[in-house]
């Protein structure tokens, strides 16, 4: 299950958005999101949505990805704006609906046009200057790699421990499998710590 599970929504491509530096995309997303949340105006909301749609089009985000990833948020947005309609009138409802969709679209566009590794690489480069205050970028990179590597194995461990509990007729008690699961995770982490030390990781 490892590979399909960890694919994410990235779409290969060579659009302007694909080529923009990661930090530009992430910072712009932050700034835009904040503006959308803070500006309370239905006309502005229409503008934001239009902007989000244009950006998604520039990044050539596939409609299917768009639909799949925004389904959940659409349900919430519709319910939320229905509540708003009842509480504060149609303008407010429309604004909430449009804002929530714009936010989801913008974030999706960044995620769909940026490789996971590119984001992580950029992060590790970004924290380079923090070396002076004792942050070791190499160690951060190692921890990130280790965590990504551990996800499929940990999922497998969780399922395995659950099956073991079921085989003993303890399946209905989450604690009966969660405790051994967590203990195995901690024990394995100690072994991994030893293996890292044996490979000289803590030496530099």
């Amino acid at each position: 299950m490892s590979t399909p599970l960890l694919l994410g929504v990235y779409q290969p491509g060579s659009t302007v958005l694909h080529r923009l530096p990661v930090w530009v995309k992430v910072l712009s997303l932050g700034a835009l999101s904040l503006t959308i949340v803070l500006v309370r105006d239905v006309r502005a909301a229409v503008g934001f949505l239009a902007l989000a749609l244009v950006l998604a089009a520039i990044g050539k985000v596939a409609l299917r990805t768009l639909a799949r990833s925004t389904r959940g948020i659409l349900v919430i947005a519709v319910i939320a704006s229905a509540l708003q309609w009842w509480a504060a009138g149609p303008d407010k409802a429309a604004e909430t609906l449009l804002d929530l969709i714009s936010l989801a679209l913008l974030a999706l566009t960044v995620t769909a046009t940026t490789l996971v590794n590119a984001i992580l690489d950029s992060l590790i480069r970004g924290i380079g200057p923090l070396r002076r205050v004792g942050v070791d970028p190499e160690r951060v990179a190692l921890t990130i790699g280790l965590a990504i590597q551990a996800i499929p194995g940990t999922v497998a461990l969780a399922l395995e421990t659950r099956d073991a509990a079921r085989a003993r007729g303890l399946g209905s008690h989450p604690r009966a499998y969660l405790t051994p699961f967590v203990i195995r995770v901690v024990a394995r982490a100690h072994e991994t710590g030893d293996a890292l030390a044996a490979r000289g990781i803590g030496d530099d």
Binding site: L29, L103, L123, T154, V186, A189, G193
Partner: protein
């Protein structure tokens, strides 16, 4: 022989060896709990309604990280989990991922996860201390973190829906019972883990 026992020797000559090993073990534990939170969010998810909000053990994993690893490592493992999700790995509840989760309705919960873990870790390590093998003590230590998590969640919804505190609290209320149950399980499991690995929180 367990790892906990081998880590225990404390002759003066032993000091550098211990420091080096604890560094690599810390890295491994942080990464292991990042993977554990992801596994909790992926495996044990129970979708409710349209798929926007799931009852998952994501919160379980987050609070467990704090209660088991203590404040610093707990905070870092949760922060790394959010970072990997933000970078696009589909490890958030309901297999969602990407920056969208940080600007969605439930963003407040997400943003405050590391703080919740930090708070639980602080209390378990410095208030619970040697009583951390008692589930009741761990439970009480985890409550403030959970409250902070919900307050942040409520604030997020207040902001996104542009409503008053009262309404936002009403949106949040249905999740209280589930989360109390989750931190009860966190407490039961963490207490067992501290019994199995008495030296996990020996240092900061």
């Amino acid at each position: 022989m367990t790892m906990a026992e081998t880590a225990d020797s404390t002759t003066p000559a032993d000091a550098p060896a211990r420091r080096r090993r604890s560094t690599t073990t810390d890295i491994a534990l942080i990464a292991a709990f990042t993977a554990l939170i992801a596994a909790c969010a992926l495996v044990i998810g129970i979708p409710v309604g349209g798929g926007g909000v799931d009852i998952t053990l994501q919160t379980f994993g987050v609070m467990l990280a704090g209660a088991v690893l203590g404040p610093v490592r707990g905070f870092l493992s949760v922060a790394l989990y959010l970072l990997l999700g933000a970078a696009g790995l589909p490890i958030f509840a309901g297999h969602s991922s990407g920056l969208g989760s940080f600007t969605s309705v439930s963003a407040g919960y997400l943003w405050s996860f590391p703080i919740a873990a930090l708070l639980a870790g602080l209390l378990v390590q410095y208030v619970g201390r040697s009583r951390r093998t008692s589930a009741l003590v761990v439970f009480l230590c985890a409550v403030p973190g959970m409250i902070v998590n919900h307050l942040a969640g409520v604030y997020g919804m207040k902001l996104f829906f542009d409503t008053d505190w009262r309404t936002a609290f009403e949106y949040d209320a249905p999740f209280w019972l589930g989360d109390v149950v989750k931190i009860l399980v966190v407490a039961l499991v963490a207490a067992e883990v501290h019994k199995a690995f008495p030296h996990l929180l020996r240092r900061g």
